[in-house]
Symmetry: C2
Subunit: 333 residues, 2 copies
C-alpha cells in the first residue's frame, strides 16, 4: 500500500465514497416513484430513506466511480491510492475494507459527525438498465483539508471524478488537488462522469478542462454535452486543442484517443457475454491510466482500457473479478 | 404484514438475525487463518474484526437461517412473521428492510446498546464450498421479553432455528416461545441447523424434541448426530416415536417425512443447474411449513419443500429470486 511505505503512487483517485445498494425492481415501481429510468438522481437523506422503504430486498457492495477505477488500477498491479470521505459507521468501514483488502492505500479520516456514509440506491429493471439515486452523505463533506499535499506530491497521476462537482465543498477540494498535483509535476486526469452532471456544471467543467486537466475521459453523451455539440465529431474537434489527451469512449465501438494532431481509434475488446455494463467507463479509465503511468504509447493505453472494461462488463458488479495484471500480461510487457 | 393487521400468522420464525458478508477466498487463505473448510465457527467481536481484516472485498446481504425460511414463507404468499434481535445500526436497518420489503412482519425492538448487529463472514472457496464464521452480536441478546405472547398466540406454527441454542439468553426465549405457542394451540417446529450445533447441545435438543417439538427438520448428519446413530435408518427409527412429524432432508436424494407409522419418501425437485446450495434446508422448511399451515397432506408438504429448495439452489444467495407462489401454483391448489 503506497501510503504506508511513503513511496511513489501511480494513480491517486479522488471521488465520492459510496456504498451501492442494489435491488431488482419492475418498471411500474420506478413510475410510481416518479423516477426517470437510466438517469442518476441526487437525493437527500429523507428522500433516500423514502426510496429505501419502497424498494425490494437489496445487496450492499462498495461503489463510487473513482473508487471502482482505483480498485482496477490496483488489480493491474500498479500503486493505487484513494481519497474520499465516509462517516465512522458500518458502511464506512465496509467501504474502507473493500479498498484496503485489494491493496489500495486509503487514509482519508472518516467523519465523526454529520451525515452517514453516502450510498447509491441502484434499481435494476428487467431490461438490465440501472436507475441510480445517490445520497452523497459524508462523501459530500470532503474538503481541501482532506487533500494532503504530501500525498499529492507522490502521485504520478491524480484522477478526479466529475460527480465530485455536485457537493460544493468537494469542488474546492478538487481544485486544491489539481493545483498541488501540478505544482509537484504530476498529471491531472478527469472523467466527466455523467451527461447530466456536465449539464449542471458546464461552465466550471469547460474552465477546468482548458486550464487544469491533462487527461480527459468522457463518453459520447458527455463530450457532446460539454461542448453542446450536435454530433461526436464536432465534439472531438472541440476537445482536441483544449486538452493534452482526451480518451473518448463509445461502448461497443471502442474508443478514440485524441492528443493534439494525433487521433487513435481503438477497438473494443471482445466479450463472450455482456452481463452488466456498470463500471465499464470506470475500468476503461483504470487501464488507460496504468498505461500512461508506465509511459506506454497511447494506443496501448487505450487497449488496456478496453481490456479492463471488457472484464468488468462480463460479470455483475463494477469492480474486477479477475486480476487485470494477469489478463494484461501481454500488453504490459 | 401480519403484525400490523393483528390477524392470524401462518408461520412465525425465531432465529439469529444476521447479515451475511460474502467473499471469495483461496484455500491457502483459510489454512493461514486456521479455519476448517465447510464448518460454521462461532467467533467473538475481536475475532470477527481480525477475520474481516484478512478477507478480500465482500458483499453484504441479509441472512440468518430462520429469516431465510420466513422470507420463503412470504414468497409462497403465506402470512409470515419474524422475531430476532439486531442493533439500531446500519446493518440492523438493512436486515429489517429486507424482511419488511417482502411482506414479512418484523417488530422486534432493535437493541439501543451492546454489540452491533450480528454477521456471518462467509468465505467461498473455488470449489464453491462455504466456510462460515458467525459473530452473533446483538442476535445473541434475544431474551424472553422479546417473545410477545400476543404474537405467539396468533401463529399457527412457530419455527425455531437450532443455532439459537448457542446464545444462552436466546435458549430461554426459545423455551418461552414453545410454551406460549402450545398454550395458544399452535404447533412448534424446530430445525437442528447444524451437526456441530447438535453436538454442542445434544441433551437440550433431545429433551426439546421429545417434550416440545411437533415438527422437526434435520438433514442426515444432524439427525444422526442427535441420536448418535451409525446410519440414517437407525436415526429415522429413533425419531419416529419421539416427534409428531420429522422431515429429514437428504440433498439430491430428496427427503423422508416420518409421522408415527407413516413414512413418505419424497423426491428432490429437478434442478437445471446447481449453482449454490446455501439456503436449501432453510427453503425446504419454508415450503413444508406452508403446506402444513394449509392442512395439506404430508407428501405434498414435502414436495413444496423440495420445490422451494430447488429454486434457491439454482442461483446465488439463500433467499428466493422468483415468487414461490407462482412456481407452486399447481401444488397449492
Amino acid at each position: 500500500m503506497a501510503e504506508r511505505t511513503g513511496g511513489p503512487i501511480d494513480v491517486l483517485g479522488i471521488g465520492n465514497a459510496l456504498v451501492d445498494v442494489l435491488s431488482h425492481e419492475k418498471d411500474e415501481r420506478l413510475a410510481d416513484l416518479g423516477l426517470v429510468k437510466g438517469a442518476m438522481h441526487l437525493v437527500d437523506e429523507s428522500q433516500a430513506a423514502t426510496l429505501y422503504d419502497a424498494i425490494g430486498p437489496a445487496v450492499q457492495i462498495s461503489g463510487g466511480s473513482a473508487a471502482n477505477t482505483i480498485v482496477g488500477v490496483a488489480s493491474f498491479g500498479a500503486r493505487a491510492q484513494y481519497v474520499g470521505k465516509v462517516r465512522d459507521d458500518e458502511l464506512g468501514r465496509v467501504f474502507a475494507h473493500d479498498l484496503r483488502s485489494v491493496g489500495v492505500g486509503y487514509d482519508t479520516v472518516a467523519a465523526a459527525s454529520g451525515p452517514p456514509t453516502g450510498r447509491c440506491l441502484i434499481m435494476i429493471t428487467p431490461d438490465a438498465q440501472r436507475t441510480m439515486n445517490t445520497f452523497l452523505g459524508a462523501s459530500g463533506h470532503l474538503t481541501p483539508a482532506d487533500v494532503d499535499p504530501a500525498l499529492m506530491a507522490r502521485a504520478k497521476i491524480v484522477y478526479l471524478e466529475g460527480y465530485l462537482f455536485d457537493p460544493p465543498a468537494a469542488q474546492e477540494a478538487f481544485r486544491t488537488a489539481a493545483r498541488l498535483t501540478h505544482d509537484a509535476g504530476g498529471k491531472v486526469a478527469l472523467t466527466l462522469s455523467d451527461a447530466f452532471c456536465v449539464d449542471r456544471h458546464r461552465a466550471a467543467f469547460l474552465d477546468l478542462v482548458e486550464r487544469h486537466v491533462d487527461i480527459l475521459f468522457a463518453n459520447e453523451a458527455e463530450i457532446r454535452s460539454l461542448y453542446e455539440a450536435p454530433d461526436f465529431d464536432t465534439a472531438l474537434q472541440a476537445v482536441r486543442r483544449r486538452c493534452e489527451i482526451a480518451a473518448l469512449t463509445r461502448s461497443e465501438r471502442g474508443s478514440v484517443v485524441v492528443a493534439g494532431d494525433a487521433v487513435h481509434v481503438v477497438d473494443a475488446h471482445p466479450v463472450d457475454a455482456l452481463v452488466d455494463t456498470t463500471g465499464a467507463g470506470d475500468l476503461y479509465a483504470a487501464g488507460f491510466l496504468v498505461g500512461v503511468s508506465r509511459g506506454l504509447a497511447l494506443p496501448v493505453c487505450g487497449r488496456l482500457g478496453s481490456l479492463a472494461a471488457a472484464e468488468v462488463i462480463s460479470h455483475v458488479g463494477a469492480r474486477p473479478a479477475a486480476p487485470l495484471a494477469d489478463l494484461a500480461a501481454g500488453l504490459l510487457g
